[in-house]
Each structure stands twice: as structure tokens, then as C-alpha cells.
Symmetry: D2
């Protein structure tokens, strides 16, 4: 079992659309915030430090599956619960649950990989999941 990180979010007026509810891409944004907060809670520095010291640029999403259950609106406090469900050799699987109190708003599984820059082309390429990061986050 991985640790669970709790990332609080306050929903604001500008996060909502003309139907008065959260514009759904914002949930992806908040889950991404929670992903980085998860790694920082495990003791990792921000990606810009890891790029200098270890060549890790970030953990882009390869696949994302989200189920939306209930809507939210501005003035509400919600919580993103983030964990790592599975570590594989080259990717890991994030699980996010977004709750308002006990009410599940949406839940998501994301497959992500650690990436660095190819020194010759400058293009992003996948790296094996670093063992020490896996350990620090377990």
C-alpha cells in the first residue's frame, strides 16, 4: 500500500462554467497538483531541482481514466486523495479520489512515467522508475 496524500482545494468562481459547476478539465488540473504534492510529501524536491541533479523533468500522463459522479461549485472546499496504486518498471499508476466531505465527486486512474531529456535531441524520453523514489513513496 502506498501512502495517501491529501490535497485540499477551494473551488473558485472562475473555476466554474456557465452551468454554474466546475469546468471539468479543472479536476485534471487539481489532480496534477496533488500528484506533485504527493511526491514532495515523500521528500522529493520540485522537478526543476530534479532536472539539474538527476535529469528528471517530470512525470507526464500517458493514460487517464476519470469517472465523474457529482458536480461541485464555487465556495465549496474539496479534497483530492492521491496515492500510487502500482509501481511498474517504466510507469506507475496514480489513483485520485476527489471528495466533498464524504461525497465522492470524481475518481481517476493515471498512468505516468518519469521522463528526462535526450541529451542529443533535447526531446523528452521515458526513464525507468527510480528505485529510491519508489521506496521513498511506499
Amino acid at each position: 500500500m502506498s501512502r495517501i496524500h491529501h490535497h485540499p482545494v477551494q473551488v473558485h468562481f472562475g473555476d466554474c462554467d456557465p452551468a454554474g459547476i466546475v469546468f471539468f478539465p479543472n479536476f485534471s488540473r487539481w489532480m496534477d497538483q496533488s500528484s506533485l504534492a504527493f511526491f514532495m510529501a515523500c521528500g522529493l524536491p520540485p522537478w526543476r531541482e530534479l532536472e539539474k541533479t538527476r535529469g528528471i523533468v517530470g512525470t507526464p500522463v500517458l493514460e487517464i481514466n476519470t469517472r465523474f459522479v457529482a458536480s461541485a461549485t464555487y465556495g465549496e472546499a474539496i479534497m483530492v486523495e492521491t496515492s500510487v496504486e502500482e509501481w511498474r518498471a517504466k510507469v506507475f499508476v496514480h489513483r485520485h479520489r476527489v471528495l466533498r466531505g464524504d461525497t465522492l465527486l470524481c475518481e481517476s486512474r493515471e498512468v505516468r512515467a518519469f521522463v528526462g531529456r535526450d541529451p542529443e535531441t533535447g526531446r523528452l524520453k521515458a526513464l525507468p522508475v527510480p528505485d529510491d523514489i519508489r521506496l521513498a513513496c511506499s
Copy 2:
């Protein structure tokens, strides 16, 4: 087979993150733009007109599955190809493919429902897929 709507997008500096590539929730935003553009290309008015005339507030996403294949950056022109893969009684399934030229960047399946407001509580609730809209978009 449904019609396919082509929604062009220009990627801008502010759409990209510190890794220099599109911040991924923006792809959801562009697919959502293309969804509404699809319905307007079928002859429907904007949701705010449909709300007055027929009580339809929009088509919120119930489920979304996205696979990211290649990244994009600012200065690039990309295209969202949107269709309806399946019409069911209460929901429909959007398919989006995002391309830069012939290169697939990401593809997505979204399950959406038409919703209106409950006249008593003001809350959003699912409506059956309207037959005429299904016909207009087929």
C-alpha cells in the same frame, strides 16, 4: 457512422508548462470546445438558447478515457477530430482524436449525458437523448 467535426487549435505559449509542452488538462479543454462545435455544426444553437427553449443546459462528461501518445508545443497547429461513436438511451459516447498533421497526439472517449435543471430543486439531472438531436448529428 456519425459525422466527424474538425476543430482546429493553435497551441499558445500560455498553454504550455515548465517542461515546454502542452499542460495536459488543456487537451480536455480543446476536446470540450470541439464537442460543442460538433453540435453547433449539426445545427444546434448554443446551450444558453437550448436552455430557454428546451431546458437543456449542456452535456456534462460522465466518464473520460484518454491516451496520450505524443506531446505538442506552442507555435504548432493541431486538429481535434470529434464524432459520436454511439448513441444510447440516456448517454452518448464521443470520440476525439487530436492530430498534428498525421501524428496522433492523443485520443479520448467521453461518455456524456444531456442534462436539464430540476424545476423544483434547481439541480442538474440527466435527460433522455433527444431523438431530433440524435438524428441531426447522425
Copy 3:
């Protein structure tokens, strides 16, 4: 002198651009969050309640002047300090200062008006500043 509301913001990866710093329109977004938080701290309910009870839809910006002094990046905690510098008959002037610790990042003056909907046309129109709101926020 008006009360000063303190609105904390955590800067996230997705708030930053390819130069690695906050994409500047996000500062407007955070100041807008702080504006509504200011009014709610004064005891006002969210705009959607005020729309039902008093016909007030919000306080759109008429004019905004911002000076950017220093940049910020993700992983940083910043604070928006918001007050009302002046109440006039039909508008009010917000003052926002965004700080990281003691470092001023940017400051802004916004002229805003309370607006409601014209019952006939449905269009937004300015309302006089309500006396009780002015009092509650002074």
C-alpha cells in the same frame, strides 16, 4: 480604511509557463479569487445566493491596472492582500498586493461595479453600490 483580506495561494506546476514562472493571467485569477473571498469574509453569501435574494450577479471588473515586480514559480506559497480603497456611488476600487513573504510580486488596482440582470433583456447592468454591503465591508 477597509479591512484587509489575506488569501493564501500555492503556486502549482500548471500555473507556470515554459519560462518556468507564473503565467501572468493567473495573477488576475488569484486576485479575483481574493475579491470574492474578501466579500465572503465580510459576511456575504456566494453570488448565486445574492442573485436569488437581491439580484446581484457579481462584481465584474471595469478597469484594472497591474504592476509586476518579481516573478514566482511552482512550489512557492504566496499571499494576496485585498482591500477596498474607495467606495463610490456606482463603483468601488479594489487594491490587491501579492507577496511572497516580504517580497512584493505584483500589485493591482481594480475598478469594479455590482451588476444585476435587466429583467426584460437578461443583459447585465450596473447597480448602485448597496449601502449595507459597503458598511459590512468597511
Copy 4:
């Protein structure tokens, strides 16, 4: 007189707030798009190329003054007209006008500087306005 660049924008559902109108920070976002489009129309490559060849990272905003005149909503086509009003030694002044047909929605003046990275600290610092860029854009 500088050249005027015309940057078309389609307003989308997700650009609008619960009042049904464009959430105002999006106007800054569209003006920023138009600023870069202006320079690319003058023959400049994207910033990421200029960073490699000349050390120019971008043109961050130092000051912005915007006046909002009329609102816009989704489904509307608008146009940003961008020019350079003044070139000074270390900064330049952008002028943006956002129009829907002949209706002015908002107008803005932005003071911006060209910046590069200090090779020792990696921090952004202002550069003199390059003569050739000034010429290319006049």
C-alpha cells in the same frame, strides 16, 4: 506607426464563468497570444528558438492597464488587434484592442521587456530592446 496584427479568437463555453460571460483573465491570455503572434508575424521564431540562438526567453509584462467596455460570451468570434505603440531603450509598449465586429470589448496597454537568463544565477533579467527586432516590427 507599428504594424497591427489581427489575432482571431473563438470564445468557448469553458472560457465563461457562472454569469455566462468571459472570465476576464482570459482576455489577458488572448492578448498574450496575440503578442507572440505579432512577433512571429514580424518574422521572429518562437521564444524557444530565440533562447538557443540569442538568449531571449520571452517578453514578460511589467505593467498592464486594461479597460473593459463590453462583455462577450461563448459562440462569439472576437478579434485582438495588437501593435507596438512605443519602443524605448529597455521596454516597449503594446496596445491591444479586442473587438466583436465593430464593438470594442476591452483595450489594454502593456509595458514589456525582453528578458534573458543570467548565465551565473539562471535568473531572468531584462535585456535592451534588440535593434533588429525593433526594425522588423516597425
